[in-house]
Amino acid sequence: MKGVGVSPGISIGKAFIIKKTEAVRSGIELENDQAKNTEIEKFDKAVLSAIKEVEAIKGNENLTLTKEDIEILETQVEFLNDPQIRNDVLFKINYEHKPANDALIEVILEAVKMFRNMNDEYLKARSADLQDAGNRILLNLNITGQPAYSKYGENTIIIAEDISPSDTIILDITKIKGFATQLGGRTSHAAIIAKAKGIPAVVACGKDLMDIENNDTIILDGSTGEIIIRPDLKTIEEYKIKQLKIAEELSLLKSLKDLPVQTTDGHKVKLLANISDDSDLEQVIENGGQGVGLFRTELLFLGRNSFPSEEEQFQFYRKVAIKSKNKPVTVRTLDIGGDKQLSYFGIPDENNPFLGYRAIRICLNQKDIFFTQLKAILRASVFGNLKIMFPMICNADEVRLAKDCLQEVKHELTSSGIEFNNNIETGIMIEIPSAALMADILAKEVDFFSIGTNDLCQYTLAVDRMNDKVSSLYNHFNPGLLRLIQNVIEQAHNQNKTVGMCGEMASDPLATLLLMGMGLDEFSMGTASIPGVKNIIIRNNFSRAREICKKVMGMDSSNSITDYLQEELK
């Protein structure tokens, strides 16, 4: 069976199945007032026992609950207690003659629908809490002898339709070796919890997952998404060896952490990380990252109802500056629009959002947004080694205008006596083909470039990678794209400017030697990819990388390039 692997690693364990009572309506019609009163009594009793259950979780000293956990539980109690829900249920019992079970299912369904239709990410997500509360009452309405969740042994693999927020609180994580869920995606609750705790997990396995029975032996591969039910001894042995190998590789790669990032003949490059907030920085250091090549600032702007204030932004950037301990951190200014929308900043529907109003185009048009962010970054710049990077540049005027804004903000700060790093380095993303082609012109305006290969590839090849029908054309080894990248590096180096790369290509081990051969100075990627790329760099020499680059640039198709690079990497 195969699902989507969302948290890597292999686990072998015994299945423990969490079954939710199917929300099935009975369709029974109540005949008289006595029956109605019985149903109301049943409902009230179920609510009371549901509340008792949650209170028991809250008071259980064996569960180390965080402040957030307690808050989730308290919100759940309020939903269980909700007089509006009770009113609606009673109405359905009294006037639509429905039993409590049916009435509750309908009321919850309607309320969940209402939340899902709200124009607010936060409230949309509350539908899960509401569903959770509803399910808890339903369970108490139809007592079916559900086994208590905590009754499982060591080496348990949890099998469930999906994992709800309150499930993750009461599950004894220390005994869980893996998660497999029928539904869910990369951002579902189960995926996030599993990744945070380093537990292998596979989601979106489909209906077949429910063929598994309690105590079945299960092998789960959180990288490939594979699940093997009741494997024979030979398979178990095979996977145990794989498990060991992964553990060895991991410790080997971690042991590279303190080695300098250079080739055997002394050519140095920088390995940097892409991060979204300060909590990512511990991983950067653990994996041997030398700084941050891309600090996306969008996280602070998402999931809220208005733009963050200058002070809020200042604190956000300051935390990163302090925690990175003087390692360089490249802060990218706001990159919204395209596929990243803010609920409080409506961008009218566009025919081509990726070619539309986004990133620097918004910032140069709505300068108040831009000025606030620049001010906050500049104020934070005295706490670390921050650089500023503008995204989505397509001509030189945009760079000059953005730099004018920066200058204006600097003046303002100076005149109000606020300290900042006046020599803060400024650079741009190269992600639009026109910018890549006129790298010689743009290099005069900036201190550094960072090539964003994801957008550069999609714009150069005119391929929407989210469109299944054409996504196979998307390939960062396309010779046309490689020529653009080579041009950017050459032109920047002619003017002694640094070139980094922060797209997915930077983390692709197949591309490492090729890019190094082109002269790329900095590779920026998700922290987990750093050790693998480092392993390639320190085992090779620069002249070999140059040769590989030369050969690749003489090839005429991405297929032959990929084949060749695979051969070279062996």
């Binding site: 919100t75 909700d82 607010d120 509401l130 809020e312």
Partner: protein
């Protein structure tokens, strides 16, 4: 009966955490307390209803209090909306 307008300070708006606290507070008083935003009037004791108002940061909501201890309740609500709401 007392009616009062409050500005929502929390950047996330009236989300589950302040709503939970608000319901708890409302339970301390005998008075009937309801909330009004635009033309929508709801009972303060329902989480579902409070969230469904969709009150965002910067919105104004009216609180209507009626009962024997209404002046005590108003004082508590004043403190809640003007001070506590800033710390969620």
């Amino acid at each position: 009966m007392i009616s009062k307008d409050y500005l929502i300070f929390d950047p996330l708006g009236m989300h589950a955490r302040p709503a939970t606290a608000l319901i708890k507070l409302a339970r301390q008083y005998k008075s009937a307390i309801s909330l009004k935003k635009d033309e929508k009037l709801i009972q303060m004791r329902s989480m579902l209803n409070i969230l469904s108002l969709g009150a965002k940061c910067g919105d104004t909501i009216s609180v209507i209090i009626e009962g024997e201890d209404e002046s005590d309740a108003v004082a508590a609500l004043d403190y809640f909306f003007n001070e506590e709401m800033k710390n969620f």
